[in-house]
């Protein structure tokens, strides 16, 4: 079994990008931390030969679902938003193409999930389907519809 440090080094970046795609850049950091802490806890029991990336993305998916659930339950305060001092990382230029990221966020959840898990996390459609709770065919269709929508939106400058 690989030392967990090697797992973090290999898969940390892709899990971060999945978290950002699902939650946006700020909440992504908490989701990343929770994902790897949960993974560390369970890691000794992981069967050898498991698809580690798929396993981690599944955990990240569940953490993101939890966060979104909390987010929708807690009423958003009106007025001034308190500054998030706990955010890790120096402020700097926003590396996201925010306009395009907005388009991703605007996709229906199933399409967004299918696009992220298929094209970003590089999972097989069978795994995408398991995460989204749908058939493999439906997962394929969601991914292709999602990509088509994004291309339709930005087709001109993305050619």
């Amino acid at each position: 079994m690989q030392p967990f440090e090697a797992i973090v080094a290999e898969h940390g970046p892709v899990v971060m990008r999945v978290c950002r795609a699902l939650l946006g850049p700020v909440d992504a950091q908490d989701a990343w931390s929770e994902t790897f802490l949960a993974a560390l806890r369970a890691y000794p029991g992981l069967r050898s030969g498991s698809n580690v990336r798929g396993w981690l993305v599944t955990i990240a998916h569940n953490k993101a679902v939890d966060q979104i659930r909390v987010r929708t339950r807690v009423p958003v305060p009106t007025g001034a938003v308190p500054e998030r001092t706990e955010r890790i990382g120096a402020p700097g230029p926003e590396p996201l193409d925010t306009e395009i990221h907005g388009a991703l966020a605007a996709l229906p959840p199933k399409q967004r999930g299918a696009v992220v898990y298929r094209y970003l996390a590089d999972l097989a459609y069978s795994e995408v389907a398991a995460l989204l709770g749908c058939s493999e065919t439906a997962a394929r269709r969601s991914a292709s519809d999602g990509i088509a929508a994004l291309r339709r939106h930005y087709g001109k400058d993305l050619s």
Partner: protein, 205 residues
């Protein structure tokens, strides 16, 4: 632009600095929650880069460059736990004391050691090695007797040669009866360098 590039552009590259900080925080949280079974760091030394690894009980492994640190981490993962993370906090004190030792300003180490990687007679040998003072040398014969089996000279030799915590458990102070150095996990040059250094600075402290 293909589909993958489209998504790449949408999510941006992962920020290396933020990720590095998140990894530090992960190790800290893991330690707080009792999930950091093996913490490690590396350090430079006059005998090459060293790997220092510790369990919550204490220093469990010191590895030389020639042992291949990645391979050693895989061994620790199998022998102790795969919950292995790079994290300085638990081993910084060891690194500082080793720096002082190599600078000739320290003669003994004050750090907890975890001897779990050695069993039986080998462990008894290591426990005895901790009592050999700075600058002194002992023969494998004397070590075997002190560890409880005067006939087990070869076994005492292999216990020294496979010592998981060299430097801190000073197996380099054990030499052959004829005065030649015998084998060492860090290589014969490293053993020679350590014994020469200890002999030279012994009177200066």
């Amino acid at each position: 632009m293909n589909d993958r590039q489209l998504i790449d552009r949408m999510t941006g590259a992962a920020d290396d600095v933020a990720l590095a900080q998140l990894r530090v925080r992960l190790a800290e949280q893991a330690a707080e929650e009792g999930l950091l079974d093996v913490a490690y760091r590396t350090m430079d030394s006059p005998i090459g880069p060293l790997l220092l690894a510790a369990t919550p009980a204490g220093l469990v492994r010191v590895a030389f460059d020639r042992e291949n640190h990645d391979a050693v981490l895989v061994e620790l993962s199998a022998a102790i736990s795969p919950r292995v993370l790079r994290s300085s906090r638990r081993v910084d004190n060891v690194a500082r004391q080793l720096d002082e030792y190599f600078a000739g300003r320290r003669r003994s180490f004050d750090v907890p050691v975890d001897l779990q990687l050695s069993k039986g007679f080998r462990r008894a040998v290591l426990a005895h090695l901790l009592e050999i003072p700075y600058g002194r040398r002992e023969s494998y014969t004397v070590v075997a007797r002190a560890a409880g089996n005067a006939k087990a000279v070869r076994a005492a030799g292999s216990a020294c040669a496979t010592n998981p915590i060299p430097l801190v458990v000073p197996c380099h102070r054990v030499v052959r009866t004829d005065g030649t150095y015998g084998q060492y996990r860090g290589g014969p040059e490293a053993k020679h360098m350590l014994l020469t250094m200890e002999a030279a600075s012994d009177s200066n402290l």
